[in-house]
């Protein structure tokens, strides 16, 4: 794979869209890329410049390139064209769809607000803006996670204390499913040496996610959880 192809692949930018310009001098540990519709085959960066799309250029924070922030500059295409383009964001919003999904995935795994900012090198204000839109239903995360990971009415919520009781061993279950026996053994071993509350919370989310994914075959175990 050529370097050019690798970068397009990494940033989920696919034909007919392509990177037409790159700068690394606009911010510390920051790479800015300009994406436009490919109107003609040309050399990358040093070839003939593509014709910019008409309209106002928007800027979104995209998934990081290594430890560097990646900023996408582009004009929002028509509705037909922008369907499911992961390198695009909504007008006036700080993040591309791919980056929004990455952040939401971290929240769903129990990573705290402060940790998300630290891990992704995110300004708190941008994350608040994003989270507020999510909480008020103004932005969605369609396509986030698999259907198998969707929330369940039967499985307790990730923050339910029952998961920590299971992980600490204070709650015991009669388990019939091999994968749960093996997973619980591993998680209990890890949980016993974890002191940090956020990491313990992550383990609770991992166990809850297993139950949600395998709800159909866990009726025996879920019935015991319901009695507690």
């Amino acid at each position: 794979m050529k370097l050019e192809e690798l970068l397009h692949h990494t940033l989920a930018i696919h034909a007919p869209w392509r990177i037409v310009r790159v700068r690394n001098d606009l911010g510390k540990s920051q790479i800015d890329i300009w994406v436009a519709r490919d109107t003609q085959r040309s050399g990358w960066l040093f070839g003939p410049r593509n014709t910019p799309s008409p309209g106002q250029e928007q800027i979104w924070r995209h998934i990081n390139i290594g430890n560097a922030r990646c900023i996408v500059h582009a004009v929002i295409p028509s509705e037909v064209e922008d369907a499911d383009l992961q390198w695009l964001g909504e007008a006036g919003q700080p993040f591309t769809r791919a980056f929004a999904r990455q952040i939401a995935g971290m929240f769903m795994q129990g990573v705290s607000f402060a940790s998300v900012c630290a891990l992704l090198d995110l300004p708190v204000a941008d994350l608040w803006k994003f989270k507020h839109r999510l909480d008020t239903g103004k932005s969605g995360l369609s396509g986030q996670g698999s259907a198998a990971d969707a929330n369940s009415a039967v499985v307790p919520a990730p923050n339910d204390p029952i998961w920590e009781e299971l992980l600490s061993g204070s709650l015991q279950l009669d388990i019939r499913i091999l994968s749960l026996k093996l997973l619980l053994t591993k998680l209990r071993e890890q949980f016993s040496v974890i002191g940090d509350s956020e990491v313990r919370n992550l383990k609770a989310h991992e166990l809850q996610r297993y139950f949600t994914r395998h709800e159909k075959m866990l009726s025996h175990e879920l019935a015991q959880l319901a009695r507690n």
Binding site: S146, A147, A148, D174, I175, I177, L178, S179, L180, K181, L182, L183, L184, T185, K186, R188, E189, R209, Y210, R213, H214, K216, M217
Partner: protein
């Protein structure tokens, strides 16, 4: 229980391949090399539990036909570097069949690290460790085959990812006749395929000395209790000079092991232990140590058939255990 697996001739297996069937095939290397390219993965082993009983054959091959998938299964090799991605790459709903050549880097890496692979236990992973006829040990190497290219490998693992429709789900279970005996609890300081110094009932000791002092039958595995699942680690050899014991699977420091209680009659105990759910078994395999130690040649173990392997995979590496896969609606 019913099964859709059987021991058949190479020519019959070739017909199934040429008919476009998706197959997992176990057989002696010479037999596998006669098969045409197609939608199959394979591994070398000449020991089988066939419908008629325990069988050693260098001519026939044991075929598991894969059906009921929602999209065509994906077949590929994994090297030791990419193997940790196996569960992450597996279908969201479905299962994966994994075959690893014994004594390869993939074998060692999987044995020690599989519990920590990303998405491990979230998606069903079943399979086995390819081996050789015991007469050939040290002369030929165990191998796996990617049938779509006809390529054999003694280093890489081969995988078939099988996506299932949303109304179906795959489940892996085991039948292990061994349970923890009443002797001392043993803990090991390190993760590994061999051990010497350890804690026995909390006191510093040496495992080789303990085996000798207690005259323990080393055909019996060490057994650890994984939240109710009895998981074996079988004894491979004892190096008395180095005062170390070699295992067929790694021991882990967080677990307490005990030597298994003896099983008086493997065949009758096995038949009694099989669940009678009436479900079809899509795939199963058992351990060559059970075949040898319980002298299963010519004996039937209920309706469950499959290759008798150098290690079983039910998510992680297992020893002396029957592993089986069912698909339920």
């Amino acid at each position: 229980m019913k099964t859709r697996q059987k021991l058949i001739s190479v020519s019959r297996a070739a017909e199934l391949i040429e008919a476009g069937k998706y197959l997992s095939i176990a057989g002696d290397e010479a037999a596998l090399r006669q098969l045409p390219q197609g939608h199959w993965i394979g591994g070398t082993i000449p020991y089988f539990m066939a419908a008629g009983g325990g069988t050693i054959s260098r001519d026939d091959v044991f075929v598991s036909e894969i059906s009921g998938f929602s999209e065509p299964p994906q077949l590929r090799f994994y090297d030791a570097g990419s193997l940790p991605q196996i569960c992450r790459n597996a279908p969201d709903n479905g299962y994966s069949i994994l075959i690893i050549p014994a004594f390869s880097p993939c074998h060692a890496s999987f044995a020690q690290n599989a519990p920590n692979f990303e998405e491990m236990y979230m998606k069903p992973l079943i399979g086995w460790i390819a081996g050789v006829h015991l007469d050939d040990l040290g002369k030929v190497t165990p191998k796996v085959v990617l049938g779509s290219t006809g390529e054999f490998s003694e280093a890489d693992a081969v995988v078939m990812d099988v996506p299932l429709p949303p109304e179906k789900f795959a489940q892996i279970d085991i039948v292990n006749l061994f349970h923890q005996g009443s002797d001392a609890g043993i803990r090991f300081p390190d993760n590994g395929f061999s051990a010497g110094d350890c804690l026995i009932d909390g006191q510093p000791a040496n495992l080789t000395d303990y085996l000798q002092e207690r005259q323990i039958d080393t055909r019996l595995p060490l057994v650890a209790d994984y939240s109710g699942a009895m998981i074996n680690v079988s004894i491979k050899s004892i190096d008395r000079a180095a005062r170390r014991v070699e295992f067929y699977a790694p021991v882990f420091p967080a677990l307490e092991y005990r030597f298994a209680a003896p099983v008086a009659d493997y065949v009758s105990a096995f038949q009694a232990a099989l669940p009678s759910s009436g479900q079809d078994i899509s795939f199963s395999c058992n351990c060559i140590l059970n075949f040898l130690n319980s002298q299963l040649e010519g004996k039937r173990t209920g309706e469950v058939t499959g290759p008798m392997t150098f290690g079983e995979i039910g998510y992680q590496l297992l020893n002396q255990t029957l592993v089986y896969l069912t698909v339920t609606e």
